[in-house]
């Protein structure tokens, strides 16, 4: 495959692309259009036994945090590594940009975040629009500062009631993360505890460790790793609620950490 610099190279490369799309289409066609009846054994088993075995009314939760919690652990690990990786690549980008003046050092992380947001100036802002943008940022601060706590509470609600209603740790965590971002935006200068990246990263690690400990807790009760230690007890859903809270904490801290760093509050 030639580097498409010439006209001929360009045609050649488009032909290659068409060819590969056609090849993949040929392989995928039978799978996508399969019409055999959907297997329902797992569904029927879950409908009958799912609630009794895991305590979760929301059967998706019962799989996500019960039967297949091993997968969920893997998923949170992917998130953890991806956030760390993005962060380390980002710090290299920042060092390449190298336009942050030295006097930034005295400001708090949240302040820097606000600065960076102003500096970057939205998306396609020309110079003369800067002023109105600053106004808009002030408005943004006022609104987000008020909304932040409400969203935070909503996030915790979604997190803790995942076993009975749609939602759960992950979704709640994302909402908590956005609440953290809002709080950071809304309180420039004040610098809430949650917008401190070091606090967030420690919180994330702690939640990760807690999650590992919870997955191992079945050991003490003879189910081995990834079992539900309260399986035989009266209310096994307690385990799922705790897990939801831990997953939510972890996701919230990870994503909040990521977003705040991306907004420029990186120390």
């Amino acid at each position: 495959m030639a580097t498409p610099k010439t006209r001929f190279g360009k045609i050649w490369s488009k032909a290659g692309a068409v060819l590969s799309v056609a090849a993949i289409g040929f392989v995928l066609f039978p799978i996508f259009l399969a019409d055999n009846p959907w297997p329902v054994e797992a569904r029927d088993y879950l409908a009958a036994m799912g609630q009794a075995e895991t305590g979760a009314v929301n059967l998706v939760s019962s799989i996500y945090l019960g039967y297949r919690i091993f997968d969920t652990l893997g998923e949170t690990i992917v998130l953890l590594v991806a956030v760390l990786g993005t962060m380390s690549i980002l710090s290299r980008v920042e060092s390449l940009v190298d336009d942050s003046p030295a006097d930034d050092a005295g400001k708090s992380g949240a302040d820097k975040a606000g600065d960076a947001l102003k500096k970057s100036g939205g998306f396609s802002l020309s110079r003369e629009k800067r002023h109105s943008h600053t106004l808009r940022t002030d408005l943004l601060e006022a609104v987000t500062g008020k909304i932040g706590p409400v969203i935070l509470i909503f996030g915790f609600y979604v997190m803790l009631f995942g076993h009975v209603s749609p939602g759960g740790g992950f979704q709640g965590g994302v909402i908590v993360a956005s609440a953290i971002v809002f709080l950071t935006l809304g309180n420039p200068g004040a610098g809430t505890l949650l917008s401190n990246t070091r606090v967030l990263s420690t919180l994330e690690t702690a939640a990760f460790l807690l999650m590992l400990l919870l997955s191992s807790s079945g050991l003490l009760f003879g189910q081995g790793f990834f079992g539900n230690p309260m399986a035989g007890a009266e209310n096994p859903e307690v385990y799922i609620i705790i897990l939801n809270a831990v997953v939510g904490l972890k996701v919230g801290a990870s994503l909040g950490f990521l977003c705040i760093t991306m907004m420029g509050g990186h120390k």
Partner: protein, 79 residues
């Protein structure tokens, strides 16, 4: 209904890939996510719908916008 939504998604997807302004592409992409969240909701998958809306339309859009902030955003490398 689903077919209609899917056609909309495909239109947005084609627009995403063909538009010369990457920021418009990002917006179309988050539209794709929102529409698929709607599909999941219709298909009795509320959990997936919430996740897709929060993660696909929310978090990933933020990351895209962040990435484009560093750059000039136009797609001049394509024919």
């Amino acid at each position: 209904m689903i077919s209609l939504l899917l056609i909309l998604i495909i239109c947005a997807a084609v627009y995403t890939l063909s538009s010369s302004n990457l920021l418009h592409g990002v917006i179309a992409m988050s539209f794709v996510s929102l529409l698929s969240a709607l599909i999941f909701y219709i298909l009795q998958a509320p959990d997936v719908a919430i996740t897709e809306a929060a993660v696909g339309a929310g978090v990933s859009t933020v990351i895209y916008v962040w990435a484009l902030r560093y750059t000039k955003r136009s797609d001049d490398g394509d024919s």
